[in-house]
């Protein structure tokens, strides 16, 4: 019954404890309203037919409803409305009251990305990893305008407001990947402000978190230890790619020619770009470096001045590595590049 109604109503999968609860009220409300609406509609239809005008001089009786009928007009719908309210509000209070033992994740929203931070662990952009069957509380704030954290499969949504923390919580019940959407209009790329919740089995999550902590400690020591790390130093292009991933460059710049928040890096090197406010520039090493240090100096036409400066965040060799990486991105036949465009494909079950 649940699955049937869920499919009839086009609802997404129920991946949290709250989703099942909300959907059962949803079904109740939809069924009662549809029955009531159909009864009203059929009554009206019966009257159209039964009481159609038969002659132009037809006389009609003066009718007014008796008091008990008017009382029923008020009390019957009010009874239903208040029942829905009572049930809906008690669920809402639950949504507003995270369990004491929930795991905290801090969420920072900005135009147009989500950043998730674990209190004693890693940061992640765009991807929120959580354990299944464990309540997770999100403490959320925005760095610019109002956004809204929305996971349709969890039936959870909460506006993320600058200057204050809002919170919400959920308990995922099924390992899998679920889309995060921004639901509050936040500007040009509002519709691209998407992310993903990856629900892991609790033991998988614990080991992931432990790995992240270890990795972080190593990073802080500044000593690359694995063979892979040592080897990559020799290859500027590969190192550049790695830094670009670490620094989040690829959150806004695609490397396959697809449009994104910033200009694509594919074929960028030595491309002649039209600038906002007139003029052109050739994207040589100098321009690429300037764009990292002072991103707002020359904005390519059609893009918003949203890139933060990386002055102080990137050392000289790192900048060079990124430039080398950009230079390495030359176009292969266009069809091939397009087929590599990332497409969101939710994985249903593991």
């Amino acid at each position: 019954m649940n699955e049937l109604l869920r499919n009839v109503l086009f609802l997404p999968e129920q991946a949290s404890t709250f989703a099942r609860k909300v959907d059962s009220l949803h079904y109740f409300v939809i069924i009662t309203t549809m029955i009531a609406s159909t009864v009203v509609g059929l009554t009206a239809l019966a009257f159209f037919v039964r009481f159609r005008r038969r002659s132009e001089t037809q006389v009609t009786p003066l009718l007014n409803p008796p008091w008990w009928l008017e009382a029923m007009f008020v009390l019957v719908p009010l009874g239903f409305f208040l029942a829905w309210f009572a049930r809906g509000y008690s669920d809402f209070v639950e949504l507003k009251t995270p369990p004491k033992d929930s795991m905290d994740v801090y969420v920072q929203a900005k135009q147009w990305m989500w950043k998730f931070s674990y209190p004693d662990g890693p940061n992640a952009i765009g991807v929120l990893r959580v354990p299944a069957n464990r309540p997770v509380r999100l403490m959320m704030t925005s760095r610019d305008v109002i956004h809204s954290f929305f996971v349709p499969s969890f039936r959870v949504k909460q506006d993320v407001v600058p200057g204050r923390y809002t919170e919400t919580w959920f308990e995922a019940i099924e390992p899998g990947r679920y889309q995060i959407l921004c639901a509050e209009y936040c500007g040009t790329n509002h519709s691209l402000m998407r992310g993903e919740v990856i629900v892991l089995r609790p033991e998988e999550f614990d080991s992931w978190l432990a790995d992240q902590r270890r990795g972080r400690a190593l990073q802080q020591d500044g000593a690359p230890t694995t063979d892979e790390d040592v080897a990559s130093v020799a290859d500027l292009v590969r190192q550049g790619e790695k830094i670009a991933v670490q620094q989040g460059c690829l959150k806004c710049h695609s490397v396959d020619g697809s449009p994104h928040i910033g200009p694509t890096w594919l074929d960028l090197y030595l491309r002649r770009e039209q600038l906002e406010g007139g003029g052109t520039v050739v994207a040589d090493e100098g321009y690429l470096t300037e764009s990292m240090m002072d991103p707002r100096a020359k904005i390519v036409r059609g893009f918003n001045p949203v890139m933060p400066t990386f002055k102080g965040k990137l050392a000289g060799p790192e900048v060079a590595a990124i430039v080398e990486y950009v230079k390495s991105l030359r176009s292969v036949p266009v069809e091939q590049a397009r087929s590599r465009r990332p497409v969101y494909e939710p994985i249903r079950r593991r």
Partner: protein
């Protein structure tokens, strides 16, 4: 269309349309009927413009990614669609057009209480519209019609002139409201007690109260956002001690009652037309009259249901949630009353009646989904998705538009003295009602799936429902085009309608069509109610 077909009805020699035919005689008129007609032209132009934007938006959604406009253009289009449809069409559509034209006639007055102020309200509307158009040509805003801060105060688009246009337009609404309240209180003819007022007058009275009390809050908040945008006041900016949620409270304090500014007059129209079509008294006159006032009052205390997930307190959400349930009851009473009116009536199925049926359908389904989104926990999923979009289009475009079209088709013979082609009327009514459903039912399902509103680019799984919705919107477009064509033709070639083509007992049908300059050949004395059909089989009259 009229049972007196075949009988040659004379068109009156003197009426308000031919008392002075110069442009000047129109632009400087103080005649409420001519002002109503000029408002009709203005709101139809606004409807065409807003409708064009809606079609452009729908066609952009045929494919998930960019179809033919850029993200920035898309964001401007939905802002302009909202601004124009809400403030330049829906809010003035029924009160400023049909309210202006019919309230004085219905209460036996020669004009409204302040005719010069009435003309001023038209010019204020024009000025506000001109300023908004100017802002639109110079780029337009990309904030959505809701102008949420801090986005609206930081975007580089031309927000301030657009806000100023709406601010100015607000005065037109306020002035019209005051004019109607004073007119209804002081200028009722002999024998016309409050309990004999036509229900359309009651509805406009309730609407006017909301217009006068709520619109100043809108003016205030538009002005505050405007100065914040221009001079950086920081009232809504947390970095400078302000609060973005404060804006939402102020905005919805106006904009929720504004929904009733749009729907109450339509409800009044339905009360009039359903009684005339069924030739029967309204089933529970007092219930309908008082529920108009009830909506006007309780409607002021439900604004927080737009903000369940915005960051307001849990207690507030409960209070606004329960109050929203009460406002639904007034609508329920009206629906039962209209259906009850049909019972043992003598119903004739005409174009206005087709729109009554459409209205009932959209109001019942739109209202029921309204109660559903007011159910706090359900709203968490639906908020800011296409479900909410579909819900308020059912009410504001479905129901309110049905009211407007019912009014246009019911009163067209009175306003212009001529009849339109009934067959085409029914064809376009069918197209429009089917088109609305085909456009918005897929959007309910999109909302259930989790499709957020104001999305330029959407995940591919939503595409098929978007295509269905776009297909529906083209039906809607053709329906409207047919209306404009046959009404324009009727203005010139329509048969003379006669005084009372519907056989209605409403007071406006006792004067010739079109009415003379001062509304009546001799001022009426009211000896019966406007919806009383008993014992008097009022037969359609020749002039």
């Amino acid at each position: 269309m009229s049972p007196s077909e075949g009988v040659d009805i004379a068109f009156p020699a003197h009426h308000y349309l031919n008392e002075g035919t110069t442009v000047r005689s129109w632009l400087l008129t103080r005649d409420h009927k001519r002002i109503g007609v000029m408002f009709l032209v203005a709101v139809i132009l606004a409807l065409l413009l807003g409708g064009t934007f809606a079609l452009l938006l729908r066609f952009e959604h045929l494919t998930p990614g960019p179809t033919y406009v850029s993200a920035v253009t898309y964001n401007r289009l939905f802002t302009l669609h909202g601004v124009i449809m809400v403030w330049f069409f829906l809010i003035p559509a029924i009160p400023s057009v049909f309210g202006n034209f019919f309230i004085p006639i219905m209460i036996g007055a020669k004009d409204v209480a302040f005719p010069r102020l009435n003309l001023a309200s038209l010019y204020i509307y024009m000025f506000g519209a001109a300023l908004t158009t100017w802002a639109m040509i110079h780029g337009g805003a990309d904030t959505g019609w809701t102008f949420y801060t801090p986005y609206s105060t930081t975007t580089t688009t031309t927000v301030a002139p657009m806000l100023l246009g709406i601010f100015i337009l607000g005065f037109s609404t306020i002035v019209t409201g005051i004019n109607f309240i004073v007119t209804i209180h002081t200028m009722r003819g002999p024998g016309l007690s409050w309990m004999r007022l036509p229900l359309f007058v009651w509805a406009i009275y309730g609407t006017s109260i909301i217009q006068v009390l709520a619109t100043p809050v809108l003016g205030l908040v538009m002005l505050l956002v405007g100065v914040e945008h221009l001079f950086g006041f920081g009232l809504f900016d947390p970095a400078r001690g302000g609060d973005p949620i404060l804006f939402q409270h102020l905005f919805w304090f106006y904009s929720h009652p504004a929904v009733y500014i749009m729907i109450l007059p339509a409800m009044g129209v339905i009360s009039e037309t359903v009684a005339a079509a069924a030739r029967k008294n309204v089933f529970g006159y007092r219930a309908v009259a008082y529920s108009s006032l009830g909506i006007a009052f309780v409607g002021f205390f439900t604004w927080g249901h737009h903000m369940f997930v915005a960051g307001q307190g849990t207690f507030d959400a409960g209070a606004f949630g329960v109050l929203s349930m009460f406002v639904g009851i007034f609508t329920a009473i009206k629906v039962f009353t209209w259906v009850g009116t049909l019972y043992r009536g003598a119903i004739r199925f005409t174009t206005p009646f087709a729109y009554i049926c459409g209205f009932l359908f959209f109001l019942v389904f739109g209202g029921m989904t309204g109660i559903a989104v007011a159910t706090v926990s359900l709203d968490v999923h639906w908020h800011d998705t296409y479900f909410v979009v579909a819900h308020f289009h059912f009410i504001m475009v479905g129901a309110a538009m049905m009211g407007f079209l019912a009014a246009l088709h019911y009163w067209f013979p009175k306003m212009f003295g001529r009849t339109y082609h009934e067959g085409w009327g029914l064809v376009s009514a069918t197209l429009i009602i089917l088109g609305f459903n085909a456009t918005f039912i897929p959007q309910f399902l999109l909302g259930n799936m989790g499709m957020p509103r104001r999305y330029y680019d959407y995940p591919a799984r939503f595409q098929s429902l978007h295509v269905a919705s776009t297909a529906g919107s083209t039906l809607l477009f053709f329906g409207f085009m047919i209306i404009f064509i046959y009404l324009a033709l009727a203005l010139k070639y329509g048969r003379a309608a006669g005084r009372n083509p519907w056989g209605s007992r409403g007071f406006e049908w006792e004067t010739p069509s079109p009415p003379p300059l001062h509304n009546f050949e001799k001022l009426p004395v009211f000896t019966h109610g406007p919806h009383e059909y008993q014992g008097t089989a009022e037969v359609p009259h020749a002039a």
